[in-house]
């Protein structure tokens, strides 16, 4: 599990941006730096995984 998801629910409520479907799409500017950094690290890994999944077929976890 990525460090980002280990943060308390309060962080997800206060410091995340969501689209109209309720999907998490980013973190707010006023989020604590460590939370922002954890999100960036998660996104970086997620992009790698998505590229791998697309290259090898339709994969989802």
């Amino acid at each position: 599990m990525y460090k980002f998801w280990e943060y308390d629910f309060d962080f997800f409520e206060k410091y995340c941006n969501y689209n109209e479907d309720g999907d998490l799409i980013g973190v707010k500017d006023d989020a604590p730096n460590d939370f922002k950094k954890a999100f960036e690290e998660y996104m970086e890994e997620e992009k790698k995984y998505q590229a791998e999944a697309e290259a090898e077929g339709y994969l989802i976890s």
Binding site: M1, Y2, W5, E6, F9, F12, E13, C16, Y18, D21, G22, D23, L24, E45, Y49, E52, A53, E56, G57, Y58, L59, I60, S61
Partner: protein, 261 residues
């Protein structure tokens, strides 16, 4: 080894051994009791070894179990397969939606699923990650996930299998409705399912005045990732908690039932 056509006989399972152990935690006892209850309805949980699993899936669902799985931790694999079978039975699905169980290391998750096979000429497969499924202790992350809220409360290995089958079910619904599969569908059908379930949930006392984001957070953090993950996490939540699942999970489950039964 079990012969073809021979009936499975109950074997002492890890769950049964756990409930006999007075030193385990209350939550572990609760999980073990749930597994025992589920095994009454999910025959694959009575298989005693990998050979039986292979024969069982081949005979009953024409699903191949790759030999590479034999290197994994048997009881954990069987438990996850139980979650998969639970979904097949619950939704009266044809086993042909799933072609095989295999292993795959290239993913930072205990399990993953390849779907859309009818379009890309590949089988629909559910994969076990050997980095997690080689030893039971490597799967503690699933229990921790349920505790930290990354996954639904009380969920574990069994529910992870149900979650993965949920992705294949979503793909199947997209095919049934639009003749396409869920990536090309751009989650259109997943959106319809979640939105209609959300509207129903909002009309209940439990869901009144809650936003879709709030309701998704009540399922799990992972449900926030995408609509597809929201549906699969809702399945996991409902399988683990039944009527004690979150309101959105219950409504998503009902919508899937309406679609498939």
């Amino acid at each position: 080894m079990l012969g073809r056509g021979e009936k499975l006989t109950p074997a002492p399972t890890l769950a049964e051994r756990l409930v006999q152990n007075p030193n385990i935690s209350a939550s572990l006892r609760q999980s073990a009791e749930r597994v025992i209850a589920a095994s009454k309805d999910v025959p694959v949980l009575k298989c005693k070894n990998f050979s039986e699993l292979q024969i069982y899936w081949a005979d009953n669902y024409s699903v191949r179990v790759a030999d590479s799985i034999k290197k994994l931790h048997f009881e954990s694999v069987r438990l996850a397969m139980g979650g998969v079978e639970k979904m097949i039975l619950e939704f009266q699905l044809s086993g042909r939606l799933l072609n095989a169980f295999n292993t795959r290391r290239k993913n930072n998750a205990p399990m993953c699923t390849q779907y859309g096979g009818r379009y890309v000429g590949k089988p629909n497969e559910i994969y076990f990650n050997p980095d997690y499924f080689d030893k039971a202790e490597h799967l503690k992350c699933l229990i921790m996930g349920a505790i930290t809220g990354y996954h639904p409360k009380n969920s574990g290995i069994f529910e992870t299998g149900a979650h993965e089958m949920g992705h294949i079910i979503e793909d199947w619904i997209a095919f049934k409705h639009n003749g396409t599969f869920k990536d090309l569908d751009n989650e259109i059908f997943a959106r319809q399912i979640v939105q209609s379930a959300f509207a129903k949930a909002q009309s209940t006392a439990e869901g009144k005045d809650k936003s879709v984001t709030q309701m998704k957070r009540e399922i799990s953090k992972y449900a926030l990732k995408s609509l597809s993950e929201c549906i699969s996490e809702a399945i996991s939540d409902y399988v683990a908690n039944g009527e004690n699942a979150s309101i959105l999970s219950k409504e998503i489950w009902k919508r899937l039932k309406e679609e498939l039964n």
